[in-house]
């Protein structure tokens, strides 16, 4: 099926006419001048000669800095460029004025909601918060997770309840540190509400899933080379649907490169090399033998129309390390 670009989508609609632009110009010209603008105009007239020169020098410096850009390309699984942009960098891009009082209030609520999810929801529970802001109803959720500090326990759990691919080989000297898994509910399973309460302006709900209804939808493993805190190896995998599988892209900037490679048992693999700082990664995609359906989270329980289950058909596997080269990373998922 044809893929449409952003500019093609934009052609669906008309461009503003010159008459419209003129009318908007007239509209803006007739806008009431703001009090602050009047004061600024008055203050400018009283600037000293030295102040004017200082301002000019600053403007020149900003203009010079603003002309620096870095080149970014976006590629797909085949290594083909799907987008290419120049991203400007400069001091004005990082200046952020302080938020106003209402925004602080919304940010406070957001922060309180996050803290509630972290402190009041156990790791093996699904937590859901909702609250009203100036922008409307907002919410957040913390999915069910499990943490393992033993490779054997992690592997046993995964072999029992997951179809995600596990590493089969680890470089000498690298030791398992920790693994985390994210858990969702089978399409025919149930989230059981165990508590609902108000915490000020925030509504908190906690849910559980029976082990028999659990599906591991992602994992994350951290390895570290013995005695070397900065020599780490990260491995992760996540279930995805067809669309996410097709649409995944990778961003590269100056000094970074990618190449399509072959890894046995894997359908697509891309090796990405980054310098400054050095960092190598392997992105892989594997089609599942059969699809896995999961119920949508309670976050969507209040949708006005029934929400279909998520249907996962692939997994995205990522391996990365600042110290291991691509040839070594490729061996981590070599079939035993």
């Amino acid at each position: 099926m044809k893929q449409y670009t952003q500019s093609e989508l934009q052609k669906m609609y008309m461009e503003p006419s010159e008459e419209l632009k003129d009318r908007i110009h007239q509209e803006i010209s007739s806008l009431p001048i703001k009090e602050q603008e009047e004061n600024i105009v008055k203050k400018k007239l009283s600037f000293s000669f030295v102040s004017v020169i200082a301002i000019l020098l600053i403007l020149v410096a900003v203009a010079y800095a603003a002309t620096e850009v870095y080149h970014r390309i976006r590629i797909n699984w085949k290594g083909e460029t799907v987008e290419e942009t120049e991203v400007p960098i400069g001091p004005e891009a990082t200046v952020v004025p302080p938020p106003d009082a209402q925004m602080l209030s919304d940010e406070d609520l957001s922060r309180m909601a996050d803290e509630l999810l972290q402190n009041s929801v156990a790791e093996d529970e699904y937590g859901l918060v909702s609250y009203e802001t100036t922008g409307g109803k907002m919410g957040g959720a913390r999915p069910i997770q499990k943490t393992f500090d033993s490779w054997d326990e992690f592997r046993e759990y995964m072999n029992r309840s997951s179809e995600l691919t596990l590493p089969t080989w680890i470089p000498d000297g690298y030791e398992f540190q920790e693994a985390k898994v994210g858990i969702s509910c089978k399409a025919d399973g149930e989230y059981t509400l165990i508590e609902e309460r108000q915490e000020g302006a925030i509504t908190l709900k906690r849910y559980k899933i029976d082990d028999s209804d659990s599906v591991v939808v992602w994992y994350y493993i951290n390895y570290r080379e013995s005695g070397e805190d900065n020599h780490y190896l990260l491995v992760s995998s996540m279930l995805i649907d067809d669309q996410e599988a097709d649409e995944r892209t990778f961003d590269l900037t100056d000094g970074q490169s990618a190449s399509v490679i072959t890894v046995p048992g894997i359908d697509d693999a891309l090796a990405i090399v980054r310098n400054d700082p050095a960092y190598n990664s392997l992105a892989m995609r594997r089609n599942l033998n059969h699809s896995i359906e999961c119920r949508m989270d309670p976050m969507y329980a209040e949708a006005p129309v029934p929400i279909e289950p998520a249907v996962f058909t692939c997994e995205n596997i990522d391996v990365s390390s600042p110290w291991l080269d691509i040839e070594t990373l490729q061996k981590i998922f070599t079939p035993e």
Partner: protein, 155 residues
């Protein structure tokens, strides 16, 4: 922000704002009214907006103005009425037809993200929904479009 900077900003965003207004109101004349009427409200509050968020803010104002116009005029706009344009590309028109059959709650997120290039977070703040809700709507919009375009292609 002074008027010169405001005009520069507004004119820069105008093509995208006009497209959004057309996607809601359908008739270009109504869309022109929306983007023109949004100017005053945008000017009154522009100084309270965090730098870098002006685009999303203006989109929000225009969308609200479109809804105001819809409420005031209470007009049903036929989907198949397209404005006169020079040499429309058939495929793009077919796509527009399909896009406009989407309910607004799916159409707007789709157009904000894919036509106007807003990030998911920006689009969520423009519409006033959570990021989770936006991603869900995008998924549903794309699924609907795929099905409809495939059926159109087959027919």
């Amino acid at each position: 922000m002074n008027k010169i900077a405001f005009e520069e900003l507004y004119m820069q965003q105008l093509p995208g704002l006009f497209r959004l207004a057309q996607s809601i109101l359908r008739q270009p004349a109504d869309a022109e009214d929306a983007v023109q009427q949004a100017v005053l409200q945008a000017w009154q509050q522009i100084d309270t907006i965090q730098s870098g968020k002006e685009k999303a803010y203006l989109a929000r104002i225009v969308i609200n103005e479109c809804h105001n116009i819809q409420r005031l005029r209470q007009r049903t706009v036929p989907v198949t009425v397209f404005p006169e344009r020079i040499e429309p590309e058939t495929k793009i028109m077919e796509l527009r037809d399909v896009v406009e059959r989407l309910p607004e709650k799916l159409r707007l997120p789709f157009l904000l993200v894919y036509m106007e290039g807003y990030s998911s977070q920006e689009a969520a703040s423009v519409i006033g929904i959570t990021l989770f809700a936006l991603k869900l709507r995008l998924k549903r919009a794309k699924k609907s479009l795929r099905i409809e375009l495939r059926e159109e292609g087959e027919s």
